[in-house]
């Protein structure tokens, strides 16, 4: 026994890496040794086998066992569960300090214990009991509670810690995946496409191109003063469609009246009802439910409102272009003037919406009014890292704040693009 204790003592001097490599490399030979050893023991039919021999055999076995014991106390399923658990964890931990190797080593030992165990049982429960008792004796000699032997693995590698780390890693991955999905839901272009803004813009582009071709052929057909007059008329229209450089502040609030009066004099129906409805619904939601909603939900609503308003604006530009192209007796100069007014009104609507949401989000940032979500995230994911999580949320909210301000620019640029596409649609009216 003395000899064995010394042996244990000697182990603690080993470097972790050599333990790891011996654990992995040794598995194969250990497997055959242990099973051979056991079968020799069983075949010999000795009631009380040589204690030293037993101890040697079960030192390794116990090593695996003690890892498993403090995880689960049910005896029968332990090996199974742990082996399964470990091989599952293996995948996520491979590459981390070579722990994957240690684990695969451990789990094969466990599997080995399992299989030899069943042979042992067929050989006789008595023998097993003896083996178990003896093993515990050997292990506990001078070390009740196996404290030192547990310490053998050192602070660096504690299985429970490894498992906890792996669990945290998986949860982090889940969180990231969720966030990606959330981001998709709140992605401006995706929403804009869902509200059919993209396809209306594409159709408007096709009309615009068709008109441009017509313009080119009419220019080719013209000559002399006629050509000059035509070119001048086209140029004038293009200039009339230029938006004023800077809108005076404070005019945004009156956009609905401005849109109504401008669109009513266009000569073809410009349907404002969808646009008004969306803007009202969006503003109402923010007023009534914004305060009780999470930062993420507010952000999602902001994106939804902006993309929907943009899509509906582009849709109306497209519809009006179609109607104008089949209309007789057009006044392109007047149309240009009206479209500039309409574009300004719609840009105001988008700015106003973005401002309202940005204001709300920045309030959330200063004074986190959604402690519920923060707390949920904290308890679910970070457990002990509350401060870090709060920090992360603050950064995220800041991003969103920045994002929606940016998206207001983005959405008005879609409307401005629609206006640009309308220019040839107006210019072809000159030829008539």
């Amino acid at each position: 026994m003395q000899m064995w204790l010394q042996g244990w003592g000697g182990w603690s001097g080993w470097g972790m890496s050599s333990l790891l490599s011996s654990a992995t490399e040794g598995v194969a030979s250990l497997t055959s040794q242990v099973s051979q050893g056991l079968s020799t023991v069983l075949e010999a039919g000795i009631g009380a086998p040589d204690p030293e021999e037993l101890a040697r055999l079960h030192r390794e076995e116990a090593q695996a066992a003690k890892e498993t014991v403090h995880l689960k106390d049910d005896d029968d399923d332990v090996a199974n569960c742990v082996a399964a658990e470990m091989s599952r964890q293996e995948e996520s931990t491979t590459g981390m300090f070579g722990l994957g190797h240690l684990m695969s080593g451990v789990s094969s030992i466990t599997r080995l214990v399992e299989s030899t165990g069943s042979r042992v049982i067929t050989g006789g429960l008595d023998t097993l009991e003896t083996i178990g008792k003896k093993t515990m004796e050997v292990l506990q000699e001078g070390d009740p509670g196996l404290k030192k032997k547990r310490a053998l693995f050192g602070d660096k590698i504690v299985l429970s810690q490894v498992l906890r780390d792996a669990k945290q890693k998986v949860e982090m991955e889940d969180l990231l995946r969720d966030e990606r999905q959330q981001a998709r839901k709140a992605h401006f272009e995706t929403l804009f496409d869902n509200y059919q803004g993209l396809v209306h813009l594409e159709a408007l582009e096709m009309l615009s191109k068709q008109c441009e071709l017509k313009l080119q052929s009419s220019l080719l057909a013209a000559s002399g003063p006629g050509l000059v007059a035509l070119q001048r008329a086209h140029q004038e229209l293009r200039e009339k469609c230029r938006l004023p450089e800077d809108d005076e502040d404070g005019e945004d609030a009156g956009w609905q009246d401005a849109l109504t009066s401008a669109s009513s004099s266009l000569g073809v129906p410009f349907n404002t009802s969808k646009i008004f409805k969306t803007s009202t619904e969006t503003a109402d939601w923010l007023e009534k439910e914004g305060r009780d909603s999470s930062v993420r939900e507010v952000h999602r609503r902001a994106m939804e409102g902006l993309s929907r308003l943009t899509a509906e604006s582009v849709e109306q530009f497209h519809k009006v272009a179609e109607l104008l192209l089949v209309k007789d007796g057009r006044d392109p100069a007047r149309e240009a003037q009206i479209f500039v007014q309409i574009t300004s009104a719609l840009t105001s609507a988008l700015n106003l919406t973005a401002e309202q949401f940005s204001e709300h989000l920045s309030k959330c940032l200063v004074n986190p009014a959604s402690p519920d979500e923060a707390n949920n995230l904290i308890t679910n994911v970070f457990l002990e890292e509350k401060s870090k999580c709060l920090q992360a949320i603050a950064v995220e909210a800041d991003d969103m704040f920045f994002c929606s301000a940016l998206k207001a620019n983005n959405s008005s640029s879609y409307v401005e693009e629609a206006l640009r596409l309308l220019v040839p649609v107006l210019q072809v009216a000159v030829n008539n």
Binding site: Q196, V199, L207, Q210, H318, K319, E322, L325
Partner: protein, 188 residues
């Protein structure tokens, strides 16, 4: 609005053409929203709807451009054919004029659409049996002569509506995936 399907393997643009009042918009709303509106107003220019279907385990998103049939929009709608990989050319089995105009619509496609467009001739309102003026075998012969597939539908009783769209989309998919697999073959 169509279904909100963000993820798909293929996006196919399909145009619906044919005379005014033959039921293009109703066929489409039946396919994409499963409803039929008898009071449907005349389409202005073009309207859109989308629906995704599964073929060979692939998700195909059909973006359908439902064009106005009215004569006055002809110049506008012809701008929209570009990029379409499929077309449903619809006529009314009870209105001979809408069938006679099929040739005109085919010319429109030839002039403005891509060469390899998959076209299906659709005789709609097959429920109006007592008013039928266009015989099925006659229309089938015309389709065959022009290399189109052919089907008769009833948007009202939802007869063959699903089949019409499905078979056009499947045919497009076969062509596209065949092209893809040819492109993947190593050069000998």
């Amino acid at each position: 609005m169509g279904t909100r399907d963000d993820e798909y393997d293929y996006l196919f643009k399909v145009v619906m053409i044919g005379d005014s009042g033959v039921g293009k918009s109703n066929l489409l709303s039946h396919f994409t929203r499963n409803d039929v509106n008898l009071e449907l107003k005349s389409t202005i220019g073009v309207e859109f709807a989308t629906r995704s279907i599964q073929v060979d385990g692939k998700t195909i998103k059909a973006q359908i451009w439902d064009t106005a049939g009215q004569e006055r929009y002809r110049a506008v709608t012809s701008a929209y054919y570009h990029g379409a990989v499929g077309a449903l050319l619809v006529y009314d089995i009870a209105k001979p004029l809408t069938y006679e105009n099929v040739e005109r619509w085919l010319r429109e496609l030839r002039d403005h659409a891509d060469q390899n467009i998959v076209i299906m001739l659709v005789g709609n309102k097959s429920d109006l049996r007592h008013l039928r003026t266009v015989r099925t075998d006659e229309a089938r012969a015309l389709a065959k002569h022009n290399g189109l597939s052919f089907i008769e539908t009833s948007a009202l009783y939802s007869t063959n509506v699903e089949t019409a769209f499905q078979s056009v989309l499947t045919e497009i998919y076969r062509i596209v995936s065949q092209k893809e697999s040819c492109a993947e073959l190593p050069v000998p």
